[in-house]
């Protein structure tokens, strides 16, 4: 029973949503302690909140790499827009490429609020100082590659991205909700391409199997080598929730049955689910290949970066026009 006149003078501080690390009167160590307690306890961080340098740097590095991958990831697919087999496929592929560039824009927006200007991020990407995902360093040799990329590369990515919708960095988490919604359409488009070819002529079937054989290695490398959860700072700060091995297992659990139901085979002899443990065994991915490729020594790394450099130079006039002062131009 509550007597309206019997006001409890003060509620305990925990019942208010005050974020003590934003209190500039506290010293750094105290703020750090409050911040760590907040974040490791599942709290969210906004761009305007105080944050330790380590957290800011980790989130920035993570989001910048993601943005770079979206921007570079359209290049393998873009090569097939003019060669799409039907008008509908061409429209879908064009829309996908447009979406991925849009994702890069959204993610660079999140990253630049953390203190690194967009121009600097693009420059570092073009100079090879920052990285993009391994799968975008490979050539696309046939239309079947477009199906495999849109279905399985996007599926492997979405497994990771869905876990990021709970990221402690709230602007990133919100952006990931929007991106995941759009990516789900890409997966449907890709799966439709693969299923169509898998049920098509013998030549189409052979093409899709050949593409799958070629992409399987990079797909298995995509999430990265196993890592120690306890040492992973991205997990400590709840920037991401799952380790690379957890993501790979999740990907295998969902997609291996869907690949096999099409009568396609995987070039991975030991690949099997242990029913007792629920863990997939697989051929150890080639981690040397991963390291070689992501340091821009992949088969298409330099060609793709050259294309971006040429494109960056060719569109300088657009950025100048946007930033140019109209009054100054008249005078």
């Amino acid at each position: 029973m509550t007597d309206p006149l019997a006001l409890d003078p003060v509620l305990p501080p925990r019942e208010r949503s005050a974020l003590p690390f934003n209190d500039a009167a506290l010293d750094h160590d105290e703020r750090y302690r409050h911040f760590a307690e907040h974040v490791t306890g599942g709290g969210k961080v906004e761009a305007t909140d105080w944050m330790p340098d380590e957290y800011r740097t980790q989130v920035l590095r993570f989001v910048e790499m993601h943005a770079n991958s979206e921007l570079m990831g359209v290049l393998p697919e873009r090569e097939w827009i003019m060669r799409a087999p039907t008008l509908r496929r061409k429209l879908a592929l064009t829309a996908k490429v447009q979406d991925e560039v849009g994702h890069a824009q959204l993610l660079y927006r999140v990253a630049e609020d953390l203190g690194k200007p967009r121009e600097a991020m693009i420059q570092d990407l073009l100079d090879g100082k920052t990285k993009f995902h391994n799968v975008f360093h490979y050539p696309t040799k046939s239309w079947a590659d477009i199906g495999i990329i849109a279905w399985l590369v996007d599926a492997a990515a979405i497994v990771a991205q869905q876990a990021l919708r709970d990221s402690s960095y709230a602007p990133y988490a919100r952006t990931m909700k929007k991106i995941c919604w759009e990516e789900s359409v890409h997966i449907m488009h890709g799966r439709d391409v693969v299923v169509t070819m898998a049920t098509g002529t013998p030549a189409q079937r052979a093409a899709i199997q050949e593409a799958l054989d070629r992409w399987w290695g990079p797909l298995m490398q995509m999430h990265g080598p196993r890592s120690d959860r306890a040492k992973d700072r991205d997990i400590h700060w709840r920037i991401k929730a799952k380790t690379s091995e957890e993501l790979r297992q999740e990907f295998l659990g969902i997609y291996v049955p869907r690949i096999r139901e099409l009568g396609l085979t995987l070039p991975d002899a030991p690949l099997a689910l242990d029913p007792a443990t629920g863990v997939w065994a697989y051929d150890e991915p080639d981690w040397n290949e991963l390291r070689t490729v992501v340091t821009n020594h992949g088969p298409m790394s330099q060609e793709r970066l050259d294309f971006r450099r040429a494109n960056w130079a060719a569109t300088q006039w657009v950025r100048d026009a946007i930033l140019g002062s109209p009054r100054a131009a008249v005078a």
């Binding site: 309206p4 003060v10 949503s17 005050a18 824009q105 959204l106 630049e112 967009r118 140019g324």
Partner: protein, 117 residues
């Protein structure tokens, strides 16, 4: 496309963050969608349309220069540290008093109906 008439004019040649609000369908409230960088309202709206209605997922967009937003996050004002339960339905727990009233009047407990109070 309309341009904002309020606020200070944008500084030419300076990119600024513009907050984007979007209405998903008629009758919905405007909700914050995200932000874009632009030198003026016209370009901010172009970017907003590209980022937040490329899939026809909005029927109405607003862009507001971040610097034009007035913000209040003072918890002493928003979450005053006093018991305000008398302002909430949950602050009125009558179960025991009602049981006593029924006992006093000799009436049975009414069957649950759609009314809540």
């Amino acid at each position: 496309m309309t341009e904002s008439t309020g606020g200070a004019p944008a500084t030419p040649g300076v990119l600024e963050p513009w907050e984007v609000f979007r209405r998903e369908k008629d009758g919905d409230p405007m909700r914050h969608g995200g932000s874009v960088m632009a030198p003026d309202a016209t370009l901010a709206l172009h970017y907003a349309r590209e980022m937040f209605s490329r899939r026809q997922e909005s029927v109405h967009l607003w862009v507001v220069r971040r610097g034009d937003i007035h913000d209040l996050a003072d918890l002493d004002l928003l979450q005053p540290p006093l018991d305000r339960s008398f302002k909430k339905p949950g602050g009125y727990v009558m179960r025991d008093k009602l049981a006593a009233a029924r006992e006093q009047s000799g009436q049975a407990k009414p069957k649950a109906n759609k009314g809540t109070r």
